[in-house]
Every structure is written in structure tokens, then in C-alpha cells.
Amino acid sequence: MEISPDLIVFFKIGGFNISATIVFTWIVMGLLIITAWLSTRRLNVEPPISRWQNLLEIIVTYIREQIREITLQQPDRYLPFLGTLFLFIAVSNLLAIVPGYSPPTGSLSTTAALAICVFLAVPVYGITQNGFIGYLRHYSQPTVFMIPFHIINELSRTLSMAVRLFGNIMSGSMILAILLSITPLFVPIVMEVLGMLIGLVQAYIFAVLATVYIASAARVHE
């Protein structure tokens, strides 16, 4: 039983081990890109629209509405980053029903990379919104003595985002592996359905937390 898909090495290129995490990450990325490219080739404004365009419009509209409700700002600036985060995590969790697939989000490397992306995106959005001085000023709110606590807060929430996603997805596949050895007939299917629900909820929560962090840094100070 492997604790992480990092340990499954498919083949080696030069000195690098191409592990299952890298392979499945590229598969998920390719799937997302190809689906988006195929379904946006012929966009229609008139009523006979293709069903794939309809699906993508529903997803994009829903993500925009959620971002607008949480941040109370125009969602267009945040849509590319947050929508990509949500779609990548959701697809890589939901593909767990495919046999032989192990979710790349079940590896601490992937989730740490995603959390570091959020960690870097917070100052980027904050500085473009409020300017460099304006962004640094929020560290000294309400008093100067809060600066270390703000820094600890940023680091610890990055760690907690990474470990939360990793722990949830890893526990799902671990419970499945244990159940397969105890009651292999029916119970693993139920737990698989529960695991897919948890995967979708965790993708949503990761995106919502990223939205909240970015929005609190990019809030317009008056």
C-alpha cells in the first residue's frame, strides 16, 4: 500500500523520476485543455448552441456568481486563477472513479504547490489593487505589534490548506484500500461515492478559502 503517488515511479528521464503524480497531473491538464479547446471552437450567440458550450457557460457563470457573492467585487479579475484552481482540483479528485488512476491531489507535493500558488497570489492581487505601500500597510493594522502574527498567519494558513487537501484525498484512497482487503464486495462502492463527494467539497473549499484570502488582501481601503 503506497502512502503517496510520488512513490510509484513509471519511468526515468535523465536523472528525474517520472512518478505517478506527474503523469496524472499532465493527464488532468491535458483533459481540461482539450475539453476547453474542443468546446470553444465554434461559439454561438444565437440559440442553437452546442451542449459543451452550454456546460462551460453554466460552470463559468456559477463560478463568477460565487466569487461575486464572496468578494463583493467584480469577479473578472479573480476568475482565471480561482476558476483554474477549482476546476483542476475538482477534475483530479473526480477522476478517482477511473480504475488505475490515483489522484495527484493525494500527494503532498501537488497540494503544497497549489497552496504556494495561493500564497504568492495574495500579495500579487493586493499590490495591484492597493499599491505596494498600501498593501504593506495592512500588516500593521491595527497596531505595529501585530506584524509577526500577520506573518505567522500567512504561513500557517498556507500549510493548513496544503495538509487539509492532502489529508482528505489521501484518507479517501487509504480507507478504500483497507476496505478492499476486508469487505471487497459492496462497501467500497459506497465509500467511493462518499470519496467523490468529499473530493468535490474539498475542491470547493480550497477555492473558497483562496477567494477569501485574496479578497481580504485586495479589499479597497478608504
Binding site: V163, G167, Y204, I205, V208
Partner: protein, 91 residues
């Protein structure tokens, strides 16, 4: 009973105790949050969407404490650094 046996016993017992003790707090907290959210939805059914979204995010943040305990106990069982060190030293 040498060192490696003690490490095995301590790791297994502590992996169980970590899950047992560490899940008490998040369980109470999640039940509390859920019951508050239920009564809030009962009072204001129009705000059910906002309450549910906030509830999910809050539950995930509470649950991350239990997830930390789970990760620690999994490390103790499957990737124990002290066990690996003793095996390396013995072999």
C-alpha cells in the same frame, strides 16, 4: 525487549491514541456548528444558501484539526522515521 520493540509499541499505541483523542474536539465542534446552522436555517430559510456555504467552509476548517491528527497517525504507521532509523542501524 530492545529499542526497536519499544519503538514499534509506542508508535502503534500512539497512532491509535492520536486519532482517538484528536477527534473528540473536532467532533464536538462540528456538531455544535451544524446545530447552530440548522437553527439559523429554521429561523431564516431565505438565507439557506449563504448559511450553507459558510457552514461548509467552517466545517472544513474545524475538520482540518482532525485531518492533522490523521496525517500524524498515518506517518506513525506507514512512514515512521524512528522505525526506519532503527531498521537502518540494525541492518
Amino acid at each position: 525487549m530492545d529499542g526497536i520493540d519499544n519503538i514499534a509499541i509506542a508508535s502503534i499505541v500512539m497512532a491509535g491514541l492520536t486519532m482517538a483523542i484528536g477527534s473528540i474536539g473536532p467532533a464536538i465542534g462540528e456538531a455544535w456548528a451544524l446545530s447552530k446552522a440548522m437553527s439559523a436555517i429554521a429561523q431564516q430559510p431565505d438565507e439557506a444558501g449563504t448559511i450553507t456555504r459558510t457552514l461548509f467552509v467552517g466545517l472544513a476548517m474545524i475538520e482540518s484539526v482532525a485531518i492533522y491528527c490523521f496525517v500524524i497517525s498515518i506517518i506513525l504507521i506507514f512512514a515512521n522515521p524512528f522505525w526506519n532509523y532503527m531498521v537502518l542501524k540494525a541492518g
